[in-house]
Point group: C2
Chain length 666, copies 2
C-alpha cells in the first residue's frame, strides 16, 4: 500500500534522508525544538543547514549504499524535520528565478555562485502595503543613463519589502521586483538583482536598511525580512533580461516569442506542489490522531477495560473522513502531476490548449487541499482532547507552520474566482454552442447541461429511483452526483453573471461554493483514476474503494442544501439524502477497523511526527513524561536555578508577607 | 452603545484597571511579550502578580478617585493583559472549593491563609490517563486508622495528576481529587488538601514528585503541572468535610440535606462565564479585523485610491456576521446571567425546577460561544491576510490562549449530549402528554410539536406565503423559523431514540446539530430580550435590529439542508430559501457602513488588543515597523551580537567555502 500511495521514488528518498538524520542525532534530532526560543530555533536550523551543505558538497560517506545526497534527498531531510532554514529561499526562489529569467551571462554571474552558496539570495516582491495586488507595488527602478545604472528606491514606509524569506539575516543579494522607469516612461514590474550585504563582513551596504520582521505564528526558523532601499545604484546588467532589455542608450525591447501563458504554467506547478505537500502533512496529523485515539481509553462498560476513544462514533466521524481524504489528496496529486506533465509537453510543442483548465483546476485544488489540510490538522488536535493542546502532541507547532498555505500563492478566498471564472465562461460558451477545449471540466459541464437533451434523463440522473445503498455502491453514480451538483451551481452563477449582470464582487460569495463543488468532483475523479491503475484483482482495491466512497459522501453531505436545491427532474428525495448520510456513517465504521494499518501504510516516520501521542510503538505516556521532565523549568542544572529565582523574588514575598508563623502548622 | 452592550459595572472596572496599568508601564506593558521565551513570560507574569498583590494588600493610592483595588478590578487587569499567572488557580479554584466544601475549622486552617497568599493552592483532578471520565481517576486516599491519617497514592504512571494549573512552580498545597477507601470499602471521589512543598524553602515534601508539564499551544504563562504522590500521609482533618465525614474510628457519613443538583448550579455558572468571556474575546478579534480591513487598501478602479479591503463582499461576508455575533454573544449573556440569578434564588428557596433547562442551555451556549469565539478569531486572522500571520497582529498568541475553551469544562463534542438528552426527553414527555416544567425550551417544543393541532398552521408557520423580505423584516418570524428548525431536528432524533432504539453513541453525530439548532434559537431569543430592554424609540434600536437579523440569518443559512428538510406543511420554498441568503448579504452590506463605530463601541482598549493592525489611531504600518525593529535579531545591543555569531559560524563558512575571490566582483 505504501508504494501505491507514496510512489517508489518518494519512499527511496525518504529512506536515504532518514539514514542521514539517524546517523547524526546531535545535529538532526528535533525533540527539543518545543523548548527553544526563536533565536535558538534559527541557530539549530543553521547548524543543520551547515551540515547538509557539507554533505552535499563533499559527498561524505554517510549514506552507505549510495554515498551521495541529491537535492531531492535534501528536500526530504527538511520535509522530515518539518521546518525551513534561512537558506531555503535561495534554493526555492532565487535560483529558479534566475534560471527562468536570466541570460547566459547573468547565469554565470549570479546562478553559479548561488548554486555553490557563494552568494545567498531572496525574492523581494511583497511590500508592507501590497501583497495580493502586485501591480501597485511602489518600489521603483529608474534607469540612469549617465552612469549606465538603475537606481532602486523605496519611496514610502509602505513600499518597504516585507515577508521576504531568507532576507532577515542570511541573504547577500535580493531579487527585487520594482516598477521600471526608463526615460520617464513606466515600463512595468521587473526583477533586478540587488546586492544588499557586504561580501566581506555581511554588513548592509550603503542605502540598504534590512532586518527581520519579527516573530510569526509559525515558520519561525525562517528569517522573513524587510528591506528598504534608499536610491541604491546597481549596474544595468542586473535587470534580469530574458523578458526585457534596456540598451545602453535607454531603448527598451522585449523578445517577440515570449508567451505570457508560460508564467501560468509555473503557477500551476507551484500550486500542484502545495496540494501534494498538504497531503503529506495531513498524513502526519491523522497518523498522530488515529494512533493516539486507539491507545487512549475513556469510559466504557462497568467491569470492562475502558473503550478506545476511536470506537466512539463522534470520534470516528471527525477522524476517519480525514484519513480517507489524506489518501484522496495524495492519490489525486499523482494524477494531477501526470496531467501537468502532459500539458508541459504540449506547451513545449507550442500548444497551450490544456493550460486554462490546468490553471483553474490547480487553483481549486490548492484551495481544497490547504483548507482541508490546515483544518484537518486542527481537527486531529481537537480530537486528542487536552493532550492535543500540549506541544508534545506534535500538532501545534505543526499547525502553525502549515497555516500560511491558505494565504500564499493566492489567498484561498481570492483564488476561487480564478476557478469560477473559467467554469462560468465555459458553461456560457457551451450554452451558446461555442467551441470549447475538451477536458474533464468541459466534458462534465457539457454532459450535465445536456442542452440539446441528447442524453435521456434516466441515463444522466443515474441515481433516480435507486436506494441509497445502490447509489453508494456504484462509484460512477457518486461521480455523477458530484458532477451534477457542480454543474447545477455553475449554471446558477452563469445565469446571474451573464444574464442578470451580477458583478464579480457580488459573485464572490457564491464563487466559493462553485469552486469547491468543482474541486470535489475533480478530487474524486483523479483519485478514482489513480485507484484504477491497480489490477482489478488487487487486494488493495476494497479498502481504497471504501476510502473513495467516504471522501465522496463527505463532500455530498457537508451541506445537503446543495442536493435539495437540484432542479426537479434531477432531484434526490429526502429519503435518498438522509440515506446518503447513513451510508456515510456506515462506511466510516467499516474503515475504522483498518484505520491503524492505513496510517502505518502512509509511512510517516517518528522523526517527522515528533509527538508523544503518535509514536509508532504506542508508548504515549512514558514519552510524554520524559519530555515533560526535560522542560527547562524542570531540567536538572537549569530548572532549579530558575525555580529558586522565582521563589525568592516573587513567591516567597507573598507567602511570608504577613509573617509565616501561621503557615508552619499547615 | 457601550453602556448598553457592556454594562456600567464592567466599564467602571475596566477604567480602574486601565488606570493601574497605565500608571506603571514598566510592570504592565505587554508590547514585548511576543519576543519572550516561556520562562521570560512566566517571570513577567510573576512580576505583575507581585505588584498586584502589593496593590491589593496595601491599598496604595494608585487609583486617584477610589484608592482601592477590588478583586473585580484585579480580574479586569488580567483580562486586559489577556493572560494568566501562576497565582490564578489559587483564586479561581482552590479558594472557591474550600469555601463550598470546607467546614468552618477547615476554612480557618486553609481558606484564610489562602486569601492572604500565605499558602498557594491548586485543584488536582485531571490525571494523565483520565480527563473526561473522572469516575475512573486512579489516585487513592486510604484511611489509616492507626495514625488517624489518609495515605494518598498515585499507583501508576497514568494516575499522575496532569494539567493542574498553578502546580508546576507555585503551589504549596494541592486540593487532590482521590478515590476514598475506608476499611477496605470504596467510598467515591473526594477532595483532600495535601501539602506538597515546604513552607520553609518551597522544596517538594517527602513522597511528592512535582513539576511543570512543559510548553503548550497557548496558556504558557500558566505553570500547568504534574504531581505524583508516593504514599503521602495527611491528617484526617484534610478531607474536605461538607459532603462527607470520616470519624476517628472510620465511620463514613454524609449529611442528609445535600442536594447533588447544587453542583450542577456551579457548572452552569462556570459555563455562563465562559460564554460571556468568549464574547469579550471575540470583541477583540473583530476590533482588530474591522479596523485593519478599513485601513488596508488593495486593488480598485484605475486612477482612484485603492479600495479598503472591507468594501469587498467576500471580506464583509466573513467579518460582519462575526461582529453581529459578538453583540449577540455579549447581549445574550446578560440575559443568561439574569436567568441564572433567578434560578439561584429559587434554589435557595429549595426549588430546583429551573435547573435542568439552565444546565442544558448552559452546555449549548458554552459550545456555541467557544466554537464561534475560537474560529471567529481564526477568521479575523485569516481576513487580515499575510499580516494576520505576524505575531504583531495580536491574533496569534491570542488564538492559542483561547483555544482550550472548546475543550475545558466538557469537550464541546461530548457536551452536546447534555443538551440533546434534555431536549429529546422533553420532546418525548410532551408527546406523551406528560407534565414538563414550563420554560423557553419546553414552550418552543410544545408550540411547534403542536400535538393536538391547537394552533392553526397559518399562525404557526408564520413565513408561509411571505416574501423573503417580509420574513426577514419581522424578527418574530425569524425566531419562529429558528424554533421550528430546532424542534424538527429534535423530533427526528426523539423518534430514532425512543421509537427505533437508536443508541446514544449512534446518536452522537446528529446530537451536534440538534444542540446547535437549539442554542442558536436561545441566542437569538436572549439577544432579542436584551434589545427589548431599550426604550422603543432608542436610537440604538435600528442597528441592533440589523445585527439581530444578521445573526439569525447566519444561523438559518449555514446549512440550508436543515430548511429544505422541514416537513411539508411547514416547508420553505426554494425561492424563499434563496431569498434568505440574498437578504443575509443585503443586511451585511448595510451593517458594513457602521462597522467601525460598532467595534469602537465595544470599547476594547489598545492595551488588550496589543496589535499593530488594530490600533485605535490607525497607524498600522508605523507601529508594525517599530515592533519589527525591536525583534531580538534586530535590536541594538543584542541583535548585532546574534547576527555576528550566526554569520561567523554558519553563513560565512558557506559563502567562503570555495574561496571568496569570485564573489568580490558581485
Amino acid at each position: 500500500m505504501d508504494y501505491f500511495i507514496n510512489g517508489e521514488q518518494y519512499i527511496e528518498e525518504k529512506n536515504k534522508a532518514l539514514e542521514v538524520i539517524r546517523a547524526e542525532p546531535k545535529v538532526f534530532d528535533q525533540r527539543n525544538i518545543y523548548f527553544m526560543s526563536r533565536t535558538e530555533k534559527i541557530e539549530h536550523a543553521l547548524i543543520q543547514e551547515k551540515r547538509v551543505q557539507e554533505l552535499l558538497s563533499t559527498n561524505l560517506h554517510i549514506i552507505a549504499r549510495d554515498k551521495k545526497i541529491t537535492q531531492e534527498v535534501l528536500q526530504s531531510i527538511y520535509s522530515i524535520m518539518d521546518w525551513h532554514t534561512p537558506f531555503e529561499i535561495t534554493r526555492l526562489m532565487f535560483i529558479p528565478t534566475i534560471e527562468q529569467q536570466g541570460t547566459e551571462q547573468q547565469k554565470e554571474a549570479f546562478l553559479n555562485p548561488a548554486k555553490e552558496y557563494k552568494i545567498i539570495g531572496c525574492y523581494a516582491q511583497t511590500e508592507m502595503g501590497h501583497g495580493s495586488n502586485i501591480r501597485s507595488i511602489e518600489t521603483t527602478a529608474t534607469f540612469i543613463e549617465e552612469t549606465d545604472e538603475f537606481e532602486i528606491n523605496s519611496p514610502t514606509l509602505s513600499s518597504t519589502k516585507w515577508w521576504v524569506g531568507s532576507l532577515g539575516i542570511a541573504s547577500t543579494h535580493a531579487c527585487v521586483m520594482a516598477q521600471l522607469y526608463v526615460k520617464g516612461n513606466h515600463i512595468g514590474l521587473f526583477p533586478i538583482i540587488v546586492p544588499i550585504r557586504s561580501m566581506l563582513d555581511h554588513s548592509p551596504l550603503a542605502g540598504v536598511t534590512v532586518g527581520d520582521i519579527g516573530p510569526k505564528l509559525g515558520y519561525n526558523t525562517m528569517d522573513n525580512g524587510f528591506l528598504s532601499l534608499n536610491k541604491v545604484r546597481v549596474p544595468r546588467f542586473n535587470l534580469l533580461q530574458k523578458y526585457i532589455t534596456v540598451s545602453r542608450d535607454g531603448v527598451v525591447s522585449r523578445p517577440a516569442n515570449i508567451n505570457p501563458r508560460i508564467t501560468y504554467s509555473t503557477m500551476v506547478f507551484v500550486r500542484a506542489n502545495i496540494a501534494a505537500n498538504m497531503g503529506r502533512q495531513l498524513a502526519k496529523g491523522v497518523t498522530i490522531a488515529v494512533r493516539y485515539t486507539s491507545v487512549r481509553r475513556q469510559f466504557g462498560e462497568l467491569g470492562q477495560p475502558e473503550t478506545p476513544v476511536l470506537d466512539y462514533s463522534i470520534v470516528q466521524y471527525r477522524i476517519i473522513p480525514l484519513l480517507a481524504k489524506t489518501y484522496a489528496m495524495i492519490g489525486m496529486s499523482h494524477e494531477f502531476f501526470a496531467q501537468y506533465k502532459k500539458s508541459v509537453n504540449q506547451i513545449n510543442n507550442g500548444k497551450f490548449t490544456m493550460l486554462k483548465e490546468m490553471h483553474a483546476v490547480s487553483c481549486g485544488l490548492k484551495i481544497w487541499s490547504s483548507n482541508t489540510g490546515v483544518y484537518g490538522v486542527d481537527t486531529c488536535r481537537h480530537v486528542c482532547g487536552g493532550h492535543g493542546f500540549s506541544m508534545f502532541s506534535g500538532l501545534n507547532e505543526f499547525f502553525n507552520n502549515i497555516y500560511p498555505n491558505m494565504i500564499v500563492e493566492g489567498d484561498n478566498y481570492m483564488l476561487a474566482k480564478q476557478t469560477t471564472s473559467y467554469l462560468v465562461k465555459s458553461a456560457h460558451d457551451i450554452n451558446q454552442r461555442k467551441h470549447v477545449e475538451l477536458n474533464d471540466t468541459t466534458n462534465m459541464i457539457s454532459r450535465f447541461m445536456n442542452i440539446d437533451n441528447q442524453v435521456p434523463p434516466q441515463q444522466l440522473f443515474t441515481w433516480s429511483g435507486k436506494s441509497p445503498q445502490d447509489i453508494v455502491s456504484d462509484n460512477s453514480v457518486l461521480l455523477d452526483l458530484l458532477s451534477l451538483r457542480a454543474v447545477s451551481m455553475i449554471h446558477n452563477l452563469t445565469v446571474k453573471i451573464y444574464h442578470k449582470g451580477q458583478s464579480w464582487d457580488d459573485s464572490s460569495v457564491p464563487s466559493q461554493g462553485v469552486a469547491a463543488a468543482h474541486s470535489e468532483y475533480i478530487v474524486c475523479l483523479y483519485f478514482s483514476r489513480h485507484i484504477n491503475k491497480l489490477p482489478s484483482d488487487s487486494q488493495l482495491r476494497p479498502i481504497l474503494d471504501i476510502l473513495f466512497k467516504i471522501t465522496a459522501l463527505s463532500f455530498l453531505t457537508r451541506n445537503t442544501g446543495e442536493l435539495y436545491s437540484l432542479r426537479d427532474e434531477a432531484a434526490l428525495t429526502r429519503l435518498q439524502i438522509n440515506g446518503l448520510e447513513s451510508e456515510f456513517i456506515k462506511y466510516i465504521k467499516i474503515a475504522r477497523e483498518q484505520a491503524v494499518p492505513l496510517v502505518d501504510a502512509l509511512g510517516v516516520p517518528d522523526e517527522k511526527l515528533n509527538s508523544s501521542l503518535g509514536r509508532y510503538d504506542g508508548n504515549v505516556y512514558e514519552d510524554y513524561m520524559e519530555r515533560a521532565l526535560n522542560e527547562p523549568l524542570n531540567r536538572q542544572g537549569t530548572g532549579d536555578k530558575i525555580r529558586e529565582k522565582f521563589y525568592e523574588k516573587y513567591i516567597k514575598p507573598s507567602l511570608h508577607h504577613n509573617g509565616s508563623q501561621n503557615s508552619s502548622k499547615l
